[in-house]
């Protein structure tokens, strides 16, 4: 079974994000970019399936600017077998919206015929949490979202989902789309020998036009602002005072 893992290049989670002066978005010029952390977990999950014999090949795909090939190389160094870059933008500030990404992924799925697609549950830049679900809808496949565990059993997959208040295990028919949550695994370090080998692994370069998908934005960003600074806290003298404040001022009790 082939596993397809889409990976997104996003602003590194350690970077202190700054809003562009004109308010159209976050400033990405000369900023450290990395693989979306949830996608790293997805790559790790796919590699573990291959190591366990449940998968035969891990193909990673990234959609965005040309520099996304760095992200793909990192996935190859972690252990993915092959990569596809779909160049869909020239400007690092142009985000490709989930529907366009899902349409491109549908075309890749049709060409590659994987038995499983593992996505991150969301990208940490715009937190859309939509691509996996849209892809499932476009393909008419089953889906298991917010997965913290995944087991393949013949033509079904057992997906343990992190839902409000607990865990839910569902059985879905393969082929399927799984979107992974934080607790699925701890991604490995790309080891030095694998980094050196990654260069020799195939990386195919495509464009959105090759798949006939229009990636023009459908959404308009009205305004981007920094979160308001946190107000200073207060010290309370007693538990009674705390309870009173939670009741009367915060209104949470």
């Amino acid at each position: 079974m082939k596993v397809l893992v889409p990976v997104k290049r996003v602003i590194d989670y350690n970077v202190k994000v700054r809003v562009k002066a004109d308010g159209t978005g976050v400033d990405l010029a000369n900023v450290k970019m990395s693989m979306n952390p949830f996608d790293e977990i997805a790559v790790e999950a796919a590699i573990r399936l291959r190591e366990a014999g449940a998968a035969t090949e891990v193909v990673v795909v990234s959609i965005g600017v040309k520099q996304a090939q760095e992200t793909l190389r990192t996935a190859l160094a972690m252990g993915a077998d092959r990569a596809i870059l779909i160049q869909a933008a020239d400007d690092v500030h142009q985000d490709i919206e989930p529907l366009a990404v899902a349409k491109l992924l549908k075309a890749v799925v049709e060409a590659e015929a994987p038995g499983l697609v593992i996505c991150g549950k969301q990208a940490i830049d715009n937190d859309m949490n939509a691509t996996g679900q849209m892809l499932a809808a476009l393909l008419g496949w089953s889906q298991g979202t917010f997965a913290s565990e995944l087991a393949i059993e013949g033509d079904t997959a057992l997906v343990t989902r992190e839902v409000d208040g607990g865990m839910q295990t569902i059985k879905v028919k393969m082929p399927t789309i799984v979107t992974v949550d934080l607790r699925m695994n701890e991604p490995r370090y790309a080891s030095l020998p694998n980094i050196m080998k990654a260069k020799k692994k195939p990386l195919e370069e495509k464009t959105a036009a090759d798949y006939g998908v229009d990636v023009a934005p459908r959404l308009t960003v009205v305004k981007t602002t920094e979160p308001a600074g946190r107000k200073a806290g207060v010290k309370v003298g007693s538990v009674d005072e705390l309870i009173a404040k939670l009741k009367d001022e915060a209104g949470v009790l």
Partner: protein
Amino acid sequence: MDFGLTDEQRMIVETTRAFVEAELYPHEAEVERSGHLRPELIREIQGKAIEAGLYAANMPEEVGGAGLDTLSWLLYERELGRANYALHWTCVARPSNILLAGTAEQREKYLFPCIRGEKWDCLAMTEPGAGSDLRGMTASARQEGDDWVLNGTKHFISHADLADFAIVFMASGEEETPRGRKKLITAFFVDKGTPGFSIREGYRNVSHRGYTNSVLEFDNCRLPASQLLGEPHKGFEVANTWLGATRLQVAATCLGRADRALQHAISYAAERRQFGQQIGKFQGVSFKLADMATELRAAELLTWAAAWKFDQGSVTEADMSMAKLKASEVLAMVADEAIQIHGGMGLMDDLPLERIWRDARVERIWEGTSEIQRHIISRELLRAVGG
């Protein structure tokens, strides 16, 4: 000239940095405060480093290393150099390249176990009476039949307590040269436990807490000829062939620590407020940052250029000395100014700055003092014009 990193180099930096931050930083306070590295901790981190292919990555691929070019290797050294020295040197060891000079049997006995993390090496040249002037060493080796008999004392020998064997340099005779009589030096492998070889606790020093040094005593220590490293009387030739890049390694680890201090200083200058504004708005602080960053960049470029020349086969002694001299001196300046920018907080061991400042001190002394580096650089300049 290309000043960009390749994809591989970028990923080496990312992996090594991630490892250092996740696996080494959390244990720094323990090692700094106790001055001791627990054996269980060593094993735990070592296992992870081996899995990530970071252990002994300085070695060529044929013997189980990462097979890095010099620049890539030094990028890795810079990342490791950010952390407490005892932690990175012990748990992510880089066995001495001189082990590659051994015979096939010696590789089996010493090199491969070091690469697999089963043994540690140490290297003993310095004596109480011979530091910069290594040729002046008096510890001796004399041939008796097929055996060699070693006598004398070595001191300041790093991590000899932990090491399973020492590579020891001994005076083995003298020869006449046009510039007078010169001592001949021979190198040996000496296993811990060899009769006549003992290791004593060394000195407590200001830099690199948890990283020990020892005194080595040789009292009629008898070795078979199979323990010779290289040819008899060719000890310095072996050392010069295989230890050439260690000055660049020192430079690279200095760059990592200096960068860590600088990043702390930049963040603090942007956060700390006095007199109603960020202290980074005062030129007295911001110009310090500018000088620190500029000097650090200069030291980096000297080091990367020397590394690049090393692989081209065009590096000179002066190139490597300049890199080591500049990087170790810049580290001292950056560490000092980073503390200054932090005010009193910079001195407290809640932050890594006080120890980066302490650790900086040894870098201008070991692997050739700053004066010896200046001597090497100036000799190359003057010799070119017959001086």
